[in-house]
Amino acid sequence: MKGVVIDDKALLMAENDTVATALDDLEAGTELPVDTDARSDDSATGETGGASSRVVVLEEAIEFGHKIALADIEAGEKIYKYGEVIGVATADVPAGAWVHTHNCASTRGRVDREADDATALGAGGDPR
């Protein structure tokens, strides 16, 4: 698998990512040791984390496959996974929070961003 497994619990796809993916159904209070120095190693356990390591504590239960904020993210800030932008925060997201549609939105295919060219032909097909 690409990326770095954090303590068998979560997967960090790329170094500059601000979210990790839960590899199990994780309970609130689960601790994820995040250590930038250990990220380059597939077998990172975090247990021997050096002085620069810190621990992200899950604010809420997070299901398998869902995302965890690894740092505080301010509303409007870009969110990174795979080393790429996957959307922007629509609310302040504290480290350890679940990141999903309630606090992260796509920036693509948005009518509200390019409202002027919307001809909305489809909507006109409905006389009601």
Binding site: L121, G122, A123, G124, G125, D126, P127, R128
Partner: protein, 389 residues
């Protein structure tokens, strides 16, 4: 229904009392008595896939239950906005068709039109309903097995209650899929006479095939009785003018004819309402236009969703397709088609008058299979107004 029948006192439809009129004796038929007071001319259990991904599973379930029909379609996911809404609205309309006794909704699980939501809306409108999804059941094999079980239960719970009905209880669907000369001059006028008879008896019609109105905008709008509805219709036709028609060439050919000529299949009766595709009809009498293209399979679904008990299809080519929930009466005005496809055409309009036509329809209403039913043809398609994503 006569008061002495003693059932269904809450919603008894006044028009049914007209069966006491001896003049209409020959126009009575036996129908299924629906709990909401409507009549059904078929007793179909609908197995409805909420998305293309579950359609073969739905087909297999329906294959095992004699009363069941499936309605396979290409949609239910990757549709946007009004296009997605239309698909969902159509599901509900078809499931609420009076020929349907109950619905089994079969989903995959991850699609946009969720089977659970569709089932819930059926339940809210009083339609007996069950729901299954392949991902929740744990695969296609289990879903088919469970589906046969559940559909069997729904079928056994079907009411077989019958009632006497007349043409006045009918919502008749009308579509002519072309504007060829034989259709406009021979098939449509015969259909129009029949529609007039239904309306005179207290019934109503729903008409599909919006392409034929587009070139006759002003004149078509004049046929609309109510001013608010007329404005809606104007707006609809205006939108249609900006978008290429789904059936190429038909609009152009309709432009070469007068409005009177293209409105013969409903005898030029007043238009009381204009319905979105998939929307149920609520008009009391005369005609409502359904915003559906002339492509037969798509038009038939729009008419079924509007509540048509039976659909009269005018066709010069002899398109033999049927529909899962509504019997289709095929009418051609083309002699060569009537010859070439004799077993697929119910009415040869070149040799049939309105009395014989009415008799044929009445036989089909009472349960005689129409040509398409005899051949087991149950095409189902939903029209679209937006691209797949």
């Amino acid at each position: 229904m006569t008061p002495s029948d003693g059932i269904d006192t809450t919603t008894a439809d006044e028009t049914r009392i007209s069966t006491d009129d001896p003049a209409l004796e020959s126009e009575r038929f036996r129908a299924f008595d629906r709990p909401d007071g409507r009549i059904g001319v078929r007793n179909r259990l609908l197995v409805l896939p909420s998305v293309i991904c579950s359609h073969i599973v739905a087909d297999r379930i329906a294959d095992e239950i004699p009363a069941a029909v499936s309605a396979p379609h290409d949609h239910g996911c990757a549709q946007l906005g009004a296009d997605n809404d239309q698909t969902e609205r159509t599901f509900l309309g078809v499931g609420r068709n009076p020929n349907v006794s109950g619905v089994l909704v079969v989903g995959l699980g991850c699609e946009v039109v969720q089977s659970e939501g569709v089932a819930q809306r059926f339940a809210e409108s009083g339609v007996p309903v069950r729901e299954l999804s392949i991902q929740a059941e744990g695969g296609s094999d289990r879903t088919i097995e469970r589906g046969i079980d559940v559909a069997g239960t729904l079928a056994s719970e079907q009411s077989e209650a019958e009632t006497a009905a007349t043409l006045g209880d009918l919502t008749v669907g009308v579509v002519s899929s072309d504007v060829q000369r034989s259709t406009l001059e021979t098939a449509d006028p015969l259909v129009g006479e029949f529609v007039q008879r239904v309306v005179d008896a207290g019934g109503r019609a729903v008409v599909a095939g919006t392409e034929r109105f587009v070139p006759h905008g002003d004149r078509a709008c004049e046929a609309v009785a109510d001013e608010a509805t007329r404005r809606e219709f104007e707006q609809l036709l205006e939108t249609k003018r900006r978008i290429p028609a789904r059936t190429a060439g038909l609009q152009h050919r309709a432009a070469g004819r007068s409005f009177d000529e293209v409105s013969r299949s409903w005898n030029g009766l007043p238009v009381r309402d204009v319905l979105s595709y998939g929307e149920p009809a609520t008009h009391e009498s005369d005609v409502a236009i359904v915003d559906a293209p002339s492509r037969f399979a798509e038009a038939a679904t729009g008419l079924a969703a509007a509540g048509a008990h039976v659909i009269v299809h005018g066709t010069a080519d002899g398109i033999p397709s049927g529909h899962p929930v509504v019997p289709i009466v095929k009418v051609t005005g083309d002699e060569s088609t009537a010859d070439a496809l004799a077993a697929d055409i119910d009415v040869d309009a070149t040799t049939t008058g309105v009395d014989d036509f009415t008799e044929t329809v009445l036989e089909i209403l009472e349960g005689d299979p129409s040509c398409a039913e005899r051949h087991g043809l149950t095409e189902f398609a939903i029209t679209r107004i937006g691209p797949s994503m």
